[in-house]
Symmetry: C2
Subunit: 256 residues, 2 copies
């Protein structure tokens, strides 16, 4: 029975997509059947795996709004064991279209009931907002991975996100846990970055991943080659950090 992880943070540009793409690639490369779901209308995860969003025929939009089966829409990728439920442009209108629908917050959770038996891990890349798409991702998830940029503005948004997760746990998904806070784009020459790391570790002692993702140009280059840094340049500092994170997640999941 696959573990469903939502990668979420309403703060923009903190490394959600980069984490979803490289962590799912890491899990697949370690031999675990993994499904990545791109829930962001920007389709960054889709293009980060080499698919062009305009070429996608059926997407997560058709699964959520037209109730097509997730199995029919999921695609193979160039990486063994890694499958993708792509996003497409029509997802832009989905949040408004979902508002009047029955059980609008549970559309994703219901869509995954069957398909989660076929995968060990399912990762959901969420858009930078707390609207109905992210609410669907959090309602379907067992736990949340929260990428947190080592910058001042990133700390500000954290309490709003934790409040939202608490609200979802009370009303829509009682079992929702925090898988971990992931510190990203860490630049060791920047004293503010060190302050952010210390502050987060202090406030959330048991919930921060040991692995820290450094700022690394290979991570921002690899999407232009349509392949994760875990494949494009496995020896880079960015890919090594995501490999360590993958190992840490597998250890945490096996133990619990």
């Amino acid at each position: 029975m696959g573990r469903v992880l939502a990668v979420a943070n309403q703060k923009g540009g903190v490394g959600k997509t980069t984490t979803a793409v490289n962590l799912s690639a890491g899990l697949a490369l370690a031999g675990h059947r993994t499904l990545l779901i791109d829930l962001d209308p920007q389709s960054s995860a889709t293009s980060g795996l080499g698919l062009h969003p305009r070429e996608v025929e059926a997407s997560i939009y058709h699964v959520l709004i037209d109730q097509r089966s997730a199995e029919d829409v999921a695609l193979e990728t160039k990486i063994a064991n890694l499958y993708l439920l792509p996003a497409s442009r029509d997802l832009i209108g989905a949040e408004i279209e979902l508002v009047p629908l029955e059980r609008r917050e549970y559309r994703m959770a219901e869509a995954l009931i069957q398909i989660r038996r076929d995968f060990e891990f399912i990762l959901i890349d969420c858009p930078p907002s707390l609207g109905l798409l992210t609410v669907n991702g959090l309602t379907a998830a067992d736990a949340v991975v929260i990428p947190l940029q080592c910058e001042y503005y990133a700390l500000e948004g954290l309490s709003a996100l934790l409040d939202t997760i608490g609200f979802i746990r009370q009303t829509l998904n009682p079992g929702l846990e925090i898988q971990g806070l992931l510190l990203t784009m860490f630049d060791k020459r920047n004293s503010l970055a060190h302050q952010v790391v210390n502050e987060v570790r202090q406030h959330f002692p048991d919930q921060v991943f040991e692995s820290i993702i450094p700022r690394n140009v290979r991570l921002s280059e690899s999407p232009s080659y349509g392949t994760p840094a875990m494949v494009y340049d496995r020896r880079s500092r960015g890919a090594e950090a995501y490999a360590a994170l993958t190992e840490e997640l597998i250890q945490n999941t096996v133990r619990s």
Copy 2:
């Protein structure tokens, strides 16, 4: 009659708030009465000017949803000539609350009818999405400033944003122009950044600001002091770039 500029891009973390805060500070320091509107539930612009979002009593939420007057809600800041219409946490639910309301796309445009007579420039910091809050910002604006990070994923989202601006021009706001594309977080040591700059200049020859904002640590530090880099460290490369942008905007606006 003030010029209303929406600072928008659904891609997250590209420098929308940093641009809205430093450009509005630049315009105010140059003697132009300026109003900054924080339309993002994260309230980054509000905290970037030293206000704590929890301390805010009335916000843009009350203007859009309860139709309180913008004049009553606007606050002075520590910078002469600069006023702020703050955001607050209740903005998180605004997008869903706006859906059933009359003239839901025009709430911001109607709220600015009076107050725009009192200011020479009004800047709107939009959230990282194309939902009803950003649609309200674009419908109220004369023109859009589009911050564009010099990264691969940033280029991907641009055509969706330009499509949305075209749609708004056809249906809600016929006069909407593009004030300019602003290249941000430029790192001259990174070859991909140079490629992005060349590609954007090639595709949009007349619409890219001459001023380019470099990646500069002072810009990411200044929010933790609750004051724009234009004030916190006026001699920094980041502040100098925003000062040049301010000058360029004033020249373009006076000329047109």
